[in-house]
Amino acid sequence: MLKWIVLAPLIGAIINGFFGKRLGEKLIGLIASASVAVSAVLAFFVFFTKLLPLPVGERLITEHFFTWIKVGNFQADFAYLLDPLSGIYILFITGVGLLIHIYATGYMHGDPGYYRFFTYLNLFMFMMLTLVLADNLLLLFVGWEGVGLCSYLLIGYYIRRQEAGDAAKKAFITNRIGDFGYMIAMFLVFTTFGTISFVAKGDVPSFLTQAAALSPEAIWTFGTMTAIALLLFVGATGKSAQIPLFVWLPDAMAGPTPVSALIHAATMVTAGVYLTARCSAVVVKSPTAMAVMAVIGAATAIFAATIGLAQNDIKKVLAYSTVSQLGYMFLACGVGAITAGVFHVVTHAFFKALLFLGSGSVIHGMHEEQDIRKMGGLKKYMPITFATMMAGWLAISGFPLLSGFFSKDEILWKTWSTESLPHGWGKFLWVIAALTALLTAIYMTRMMVMTFFGASRFGKAHGHDDHHGDHHGDDHGHHGDPHESPAVMWIPLAVLAVLSIVGGFIGVPAALGGSNHFEHFLEPVIAHVAPAGESAHALPVATDHGTPHGAPADHVAAASAAPAHADAHHDVGTERLFTVISVLLGFLGIGIGAAVWLKNPLKPMSKVLENKYYVDEIYETTVIQPLEHTSRDLLWKVVDVRIIDGFVNGAARTFAGLSGILRHTQSGYARNYAAVILIGAIIIIGYFGFLATR
């Protein structure tokens, strides 16, 4: 069953990839969407009928597809693993993916590369599902690289556009840097634990179980744990666009908007969080790594938020917003609230996919115009888009009772109340995070205001600029008014809007009268962090080997390792106070945004912010140019041309000379050759005979 969830999109991709050219648009869209629908239905079916009925501690379904590599004691299977964590992931991946597929059938209408687009998109679904359902690090890496590849293909989808190609390359290369971290982490895991599997194989427990069971006395292992955790985090920074590897994500907006929604907001970029959550047993062993994660997450969050404040491209705003929100998630992971991070992944998937699709709808309606300075007053042209985007906007801004409110609030509270970081760090990070929340509300409001409110500015400035798709939109009137998108596009918007509004209720925290189903559901597979300072002693020694149920208990970070109740000493009153604070921050941000930009939509922003702190330029001068110079002047002109080519050519010349002599042995007489073979045989037999008689 699990394998069909994964394979269904692959089958769709194969059909579209090989025969798509000859199929009509309708059929291609149908095949692509149907294949994802199959996997969505299966995913929901498996999740609700197979996984949920299992007892809480034993929620684990594995499926062995085939043994991929088996060398010595190294084993990597094509095997799938479904537990609460991957269950949640496949639900929103297939669900959101299906909506975006449907949306894209309308959005990509008339594009000459239609079948190519859907082939890539289906392939992406396959890879993403492989990633989250993988039962070992290597298969996860297959999905990891696969989604990177699909991301590359889709960012560079408009193959005639220079910037798309550049952005694709940038994304790929940046991701590769992160992948080195991932690979080294994988090697380290194997040498340390002797397995890379998330589940027990035979009598070898998974590395997560082994990590959870590490005794506090084995101090030497903590260096290794820190190294693994940090290297995994390096991988995550690449995939999830954290400082310093975030630069590719804003550029990735060169791809079609559904791609931005699916890959660069909802699914692929959250793979880093998934990895952290999946390997939480290792991560929580290293306070250092967690501190690094929290700091980098917080820094990324505020850094990207400030840049987002000054962007004028609607998708760039959203891209920086995504980076910022990803920073939040890592902050959550870093402060030990991994479930909160995953919760935010889910809610973020809803509202950010919604915002992206909404922006796509706007771009569509505006005939490929992406600059919000040239929009304004669109709400009367596209009421549905406006209404749905309102939901997304309010959700991300932290409007009470919407999805973003719950998840963000939880992260903020967990940051304040963290016990895994040294004293005072949590408070400091909370300030940054709260500031980010404020900024988020401001720039989102700015974007909404500039797009939908006020007077329309597109009349005077409308035209074709470099954002115009090369073929896209040819069948629309070039100078028509903005128009509402077709039903295939707004229906997914509406569904996502509903999800953005109510999606948060799966994880209402106890302090607000909920029971936080989400956290309790995830709890068994997420390792918990011991409070800082006493971490070395508080780590309970896992007794998994003795549990009679074997596999489930042996699985992942082990429920028994979790402290009985992290919120036992929660100050409910304080938590509510902080909820009020974050609500106020949200309203304040919306208020500021509305006040500033309703009055002056084209208010100039700081150059530094508009140019993204010149990060690209800094990278250009500090990394890329030195590299280029070294490569060109030293490696190419000296090492390659002189030394390597010298060797190669010299060897070739030497052999050419020797061959000139040796070729005379090639007489062409078969008997001659036979005689030579015989002489050789006599010599060899003689040698071995000599050895034997000696």
């Binding site: 002489i679 006599i682 037999i685």
Partner: protein, 202 residues
């Protein structure tokens, strides 16, 4: 020295003499007959090794099919005597004898170390379960269709490819030699073929 040893020596001597006959005769048909005799001798030796099936197959396949093909080709090309063209590699003739002796000496040294007692085996002709005995059809089939199915099937593919290859290589096309073979194969015996040796001996 039992009877069986004498039998072995007789067969071996015949085989060796015939083998020399193969390489020393100038007329290929004598060589072919020499080889056929060697094959039959080996079939006899296989019988002394409990390999009855292999012995029968040896005669059927080697002597009955492969060598017939050789003889057939010799007759088809009608080569009577070795053509008296100049030997461009005379030195090989002088090289042959020392190499022969060297190889034999070496192998003799190696064989001197071989000493292996034969395990007792149920007589295949009276065996109650023939598949448990050595060399019966049943036991060969048992091995062939369990452990070696894949090589066996691969062999069949190989033979199929050989058939196709042979058909392609030997197909009739224009050319002087082809005409001659066509003539040789012609069904009309009223025009007997021109023997090759008559006009190509130069």
């Amino acid at each position: 020295m039992e009877t069986i040893h004498l039998l072995f020596l007789a067969i071996a001597a015949l085989a060796v003499v015939s083998a020399f006959n193969i390489i020393l005769q100038r007329n290929p048909i004598y060589s072919a007959i020499g080889l056929i005799i060697v094959l039959c001798c080996l079939a006899g030796l296989f019988l002394t090794l409990y390999a009855q099936f292999i012995a029968a197959i040896q005669i059927i396949v080697y002597a009955g099919a492969i060598m017939v093909l050789f003889v057939f080709v010799i007759m088809l090309l009608n080569v009577r005597e070795e053509e008296s063209r100049t030997d461009r590699q005379k030195y090989l003739k002088f090289l042959a004898a020392p190499l022969f002796l060297a190889l034999l000496a070496e192998v003799a040294v190696v064989i001197r170390f071989v000493n292996m007692p034969a395990p007792a085996i149920e007589d295949p002709n009276t065996a109650i379960d023939p598949s448990q005995s050595l060399g019966t059809v049943e036991s060969i089939a048992h091995v062939m269709f369990t452990d070696f199915v894949l090589p066996f099937e691969a062999t069949s593919v190989l033979i199929l490819m050989a058939i196709v290859g042979a058909m392609y290589l030997a197909r009739r096309d224009s050319g002087e030699g082809a005409e001659r073979i066509e003539q040789a194969l012609a069904t009309d015996a009223a025009q007997p073929p021109v023997a090759v040796h008559e006009d190509s001996g130069h």
